[in-house]
Symmetry: C2
Subunit: 261 residues, 2 copies
DNA sequence: GGTTTTGTTCGATATTATCGAACACGATTT
DNA sequence: AAATCGTGTTCGATAATATCGAACAAAACC
């Protein structure tokens, strides 16, 4: 993004690559597997793994000698999340919103081409409890992303569509720049964004942006509902609800200094 | 704590040191401040910071050019937390426990000399939210830690007291090894541990361990209450409650393979 | 507008991470 | 039980590469 001509530190980059190898399908990996995944000799990754392990970013399962992500990540992540007053301000309103519709509600920041969840509350029926905080989804395929984007200054919007890869995630994903801009215009007009299975089949969402004193979006909130419980009539109803809730939170956001994220 | 003769990779260690410089009191730091904190030249940390930033572990506040922890930590932490079936199994019981006493309830793993929170639910009055997941507290000064420790095999307990630094956190913290062992015996007898302002003034906790099929502790749960709402009579009441809840969860923990943490 | 603090650039130096082969350990198989 | 397979670990030589300090540039401050 910037013209900052920085130099990457090789071994640090490789260490971070190791952390990225882990995912939901591969929560535990051995040294050889990790070495294979990042195309480095075993002995090299051994040292990197050891350093990460000593610092708590990896931990070894004594039963199978494999490694998994460590507690230190949770510790540091807690600090990351607490930086955002936003979360504290929004929490009671999200709770009320959740209770009003009894569906999952979300709060997310934009980070580049992704929206990152920083708070999530599920309806009473769904007892998933998976901490999906930190999860990322694309800007262009989510109601969250479209709500955020729609209220940016026009030049930034155009810059986004010019440089963004509109990867189709379902057959409903908007991949055409013109159509996307038209959709954003609709979002502005009606005050909330709609995702009709554009990010995931069987899922519908409505979302609205949180604006600071300047009118600039700093985050977005959404309600996500399985298709079965989300007929067209309810889309408008929940859309209005999320829009009003977002407006209420925005009014509380007299952020004088930072938190613009 | 092993005799594994590993070699630390210097630059990786320094990069991780940078992440550790951030804390609640210093959520944002500039290059010079970071360099001062870890005693390295600015130009060296610049490269490390850049590498961390590119990977999302740090982000720069455009308003003051300072750095703060990045979203990538939350993303990776989500994966860490999801590794523990424990959380999913315990969640409904914790919820019930929370509703039964309307106080904050916690689930924590032991990591070395600390207990690490992996789930936390607050009473309806306290609106604090998930923020404190990942937080660490000492084993010897918390009900969580004492509950966990008390049910370990005796040799491991002795090993712990032999090598642990019983740092006093309040005037109530047990710092004498003999007294500590005596307290653990009480814990075993009554089935739950008590922390009477040993970790923090004004806070009382009761806790009980979660045991796997083997009878080995894998985690602990607790109820933490402000002193004002926790007279001696209620200690016994909530203690029994947390003990019974822990027993219920333990019964569900037929862990055949791992998750021993 | 001048001054101070802060962040960035640059190239020479020597530290230090890398590599591959050989070793040791455990698990699984026959 | 023996043997095999795969895995993780050790080791020293090599060359790559992170480090450093000073000089530069750029904000922030007054």
């Amino acid at each position: 993004m910037a013209n900052k001509q920085g130099k990457l530190i090789g071994s640090v980059q490789r260490a971070l690559d190791i952390l990225d190898v882990f995912n939901a399908r591969n929560p535990e990996l051995g040294t050889t597997e990790i070495a294979g995944a990042i195309h480095l000799p075993k002995s090299t990754v051994a040292g990197l793994i050891y350093t990460l392990e000593v610092n708590g970013y990896l931990e070894q399962n004594p039963e199978n000698r494999k490694y998994r992500l460590g507690y230190k990540l949770a510790e540091r992540a807690g600090l990351f999340l607490n930086q955002y007053d936003l979360r504290r301000v929004a929490a009671p309103h999200l709770l009320a919103l959740r209770d009003a519709c009894n569906e999952s509600v979300n709060l997310a920041l934009r980070r580049g081409s992704d929206m990152v969840y920083i708070e999530r509350m599920h309806g009473t029926n769904t007892l998933g409890f998976r901490s999906e905080i930190g999860k990322r989804e694309r800007v262009h395929s989510t109601a969250l992303g479209k709500a955020y984007l729609a209220f940016l200054p026009q030049p930034e919007i155009l810059d986004f569509v010019a440089h963004h890869d509109f990867e189709p995630l379902t057959q409903n994903t908007i991949t055409d720049a013109e159509l996307f801009l038209a959709d954003l215009a609709c979002v502005r007009e009606r005050g909330y964004a709609i995702d009709d299975q554009e990010n995931e089949l069987g899922g519908r969402c409505v979302a609205a942006p949180l604006l600071n004193f300047d009118g600039r979006p700093v985050a977005a909130i959404s309600i996500s509902v399985p298709l079965q419980r989300m007929p067209d009539t309810r889309v408008a109803e929940l859309g209005e609800l999320v829009r009003r809730t977002a407006a209420k939170i925005s009014r509380r956001l007299g952020l004088p200094h930072e938190n613009v994220g």
